[in-house]
Symmetry: C2
Subunit: 467 residues, 2 copies
């Protein structure tokens, strides 16, 4: 990269608008979960959409690649530059203003760098709920959530980030600003350009702000853990809750006994809150109305389920602190697994009709490859997304080979069952090989055509999703 | 168009697979509301996705334009061929199979030609609700609903068609089949190609099938009409209902007194069901649970609203037949207006914070142009979409000139308020001039780039949305 280009960017950004000391660049060059590392001559930290536009214009002129980065909480290396050293990192963290809350429209407009938790808090202060929730919400930024179409625990009720976006502002690969910040629920004036940036992982432009849907703040919450014999029972229970109080289910999370065993073993001050079973379901019902009979609704379903055997035990949290303990178990599964010697992660989605069968048979097939593995699935069974994770207490010598065999097995099975290899984490760098292997070539060809049309110079996050 | 091409298509389709007698072609060449007429040498009526693919491959080879057509219930001429006679109409009506209902996934897979009402009925038979509802549901087809991102009365609760689509099957402009029929709630494997076809009005490919979300069938319905003094009161009432029972609001429709006056005048067996006011709101609450206290919730809001003056009267339907009468009023407004001498239609959306002010001031400004006009707005105030329609009992001589002046006024105001000129009807041929005039040129340029990338020969519904 040319020195004049770097100088031009630095001058544009001002002394607080960039980082180029190697010692301070580390957090922008290494993925939080590890595994991905890159280099860059400059972390650009613009403070306005106008600055982003100017940076992109300069880089476009010089054909210099840009890697947009939010909170760097992704798991697939999507916001980490390559090792070539010729990519500029464009961090959005200084663009962290909430521009407006429109109570009449139930909408909030936030810049890309606003941290998810900050947005949730701002919405709550205004009397609303912003429902997007995930373990990384203390560092994840809105622009990143939009660019990866982030999911999380509330998708079964409120949808993915895509469904929460009313309008976007983005800087295109030629530096032009797309100003689509609208609070309209209906708008059919030609192609919906916002859809092109959502989930594109920064390869078609830089999302600089979003107008997002808000919902009435819940006045009532019921949190419970139910013990269930198997995946089929969990899904039957979900169907029963849907019929009785589908409008109020804000979380329906499955946790295998192995997953909770790992939490109790590796995370201090945790214990199993109900009697033991093969699986547990964390259920949350919330309602804006104080008149919604959540307790009656829960008991109606639970009584029938206990009788039918689709539920073997259930504990309703008696207070907020107990509810938090239930969530603490769920939120610490990843961490608990990480404390073991070696782990293999999957972020798959399956059509619901396949989930029970998959859970029932896949573990045996994995153990046939390596009997010592601990298979500890958990995830958002309410939306079909399983974090089908597993680990070893002692790392085997041939771990890489085993991992490859298990990946081939699991991915092959998921594709055969018409599922997704990346339900909510995206492709980034980590899942590129799988995308290339399992997606029909003409679908990747369409993606390439869109990329070529909108970013003919290939400067926007090149090498992510596809080469 | 060459005779060999037509012969090839006819041979492929078989004797029942096309229409070329002028007398039988009329329904495919004229828009149902009138106003648009085209010509074509052939209406192709394929019976399978494979046949659609072969038709498109042949037409692509010969650079012959294709106009996909569903139930021909659109209002903007989007599925009517041009007058040149060199465009093939591709009607999807024979592709009318419901391929699968997946109860576990709450999903239904239907071919493009399935009529919306048929789909609703199939869902209901399986114990589910398919929520997309609109006056044209007896003729509108699923492929058309997807291609126009259809809206209707249930958007405030269930979203537009875009939010109801889980996966699509489509034939691309080169004849390749995109097989994306999935029932996954989460799937982030690269760009989401389904989004490209939704709302593209057939300009990027032919939608041949869709997998759509189902919801639990309501076991309880409360239908009411409330009298309100103005738009501001209607919006305040909506906010109050959202807080009390937002999860259960499945319709919130505004009707001006002028609109209902027209219905009572022009549609037999209709009467105003409550005391007179400037506006009325049709409210529908539905719940899957029998435990949901809809009556208590309604009364809680209504009591406070009557006291606060945001509501001056309210009538709850006592039985299904009365509820149908309420809906009959709403559904006949368009028809009632059409019975007058001349009408001007708008399908606009406004940010909710602008609706009350717009309703308050626009009528005066329109009457300043022409005092005899009857302004009769109605629509989906719950999602910000107004059918801001008006008519004359006696058609003025300079109607075209007046219409143009009123369009300039209304569209200018809508754009200034960051609204939409086409909330749910799309652009087609009818709104092309407005799109071109009011959309920023670089947004249209992006649309053109996408069109060029996916349909380089320009054979898919050319001349619609943009030239």
């Amino acid at each position: 990269m040319s020195q004049p280009l770097l100088d031009q960017l630095k001058q544009l950004l001002g002394p607080n608008g960039y980082i180029d000391e190697p010692s301070r660049m580390e957090p922008y060059l290494v993925a939080w979960r590890g595994g991905w590392r890159g280099t860059s001559p400059l972390i650009a930290l613009p403070s306005s959409t106008q600055q982003v536009s100017e940076i992109v214009k300069i880089c476009s002129r010089e054909r210099t690649a840009i890697v947009p980065q939010g909170g760097n909480s992704g798991t697939v290396g999507g916001c980490i530059p390559s090792m070539t050293g010729n990519q500029i990192v464009l961090g959005l963290s200084r663009m962290n203003k909430i521009r407006a809350i429109d109570a009449t429209a139930s909408a909030i407009t936030a810049e890309a760098g606003v941290i998810l938790q900050t947005l949730q808090e701002a919405a709550a202060e205004a009397g609303f709920l912003f429902p997007l929730s995930m373990a990384s919400q203390g560092s994840a930024q809105i622009g990143g959530a939009v660019s990866t179409n982030a999911g999380g625990t509330a998708v079964l009720r409120y949808g993915n980030t895509r469904e929460l976006v009313l309008g976007l502002e983005a800087v295109l690969p030629d530096g032009e600003i797309y100003s689509g910040l609208k609070s309209l629920r209906k708008d059919n004036m030609g192609y919906n350009l916002a859809q092109y940036f959502i989930g594109a992982e920064g390869t078609l432009g830089v999302v600089t702000a979003a107008t997002l849907k808000l919902f009435p703040k819940p006045q009532q919450t019921l949190t419970a853990i139910a013990a269930v014999p198997d995946g089929e029972a969990a899904l039957k229970l979900l169907a029963d809750f849907r019929k009785e109080c589908g409008e109020y289910i804000s979380a329906f999370e499955i946790m295998s006994d192995q997953a909770l065993t790992m939490v109790v073993k590796n995370i201090p001050n945790t214990r199993l809150p109900c009697s033991r079973a093969s699986y547990y379901v964390l259920i949350e019902l919330t309602a804006a109305s104080t008149h919604a009979p959540l307790g009656t609704m829960f008991e109606t379903v639970a009584t029938a389920a206990l009788q039918a055997g689709t539920m073997t035990d259930a504990v309703i949290a008696e207070n907020i602190s107990q509810a938090r303990q239930f969530w603490y178990l769920r939120e610490n599964i990843s961490e608990a697994i990480r404390k073991e010697a070696a782990a293999i992660h999957f972020d798959i989605a399956l059509p619901p009709a396949h989930i029970a069968d998959f859970l029932l048979h896949m573990e045996k097939r994995i153990k046939a490859i390596t009997p010592d593995i601990l298979v500890a699935p958990f995830g958002h069974i309410g939306d079909g997304n399983l974090h089908y994770n597993m680990c070893f207490s002692n790392k085997p010598d041939n771990f890489s080979e085993i991992k490859q065999r298990i990946q081939d097995l699991v991915y092959g099975e998921v594709i055969q069952r018409n599922g997704s290899l990346s339900a909510e984490h995206g492709i980034g760098t980590e899942r590129k090989a799988e995308l290339n292997r399992y997606k029909p070539p003409h679908e990747i060809e369409i993606m390439r055509k869109i990329k070529q049309a909108l970013d003919p110079k290939g400067i926007m996050n090149p090498g992510k999703i596809f080469d």
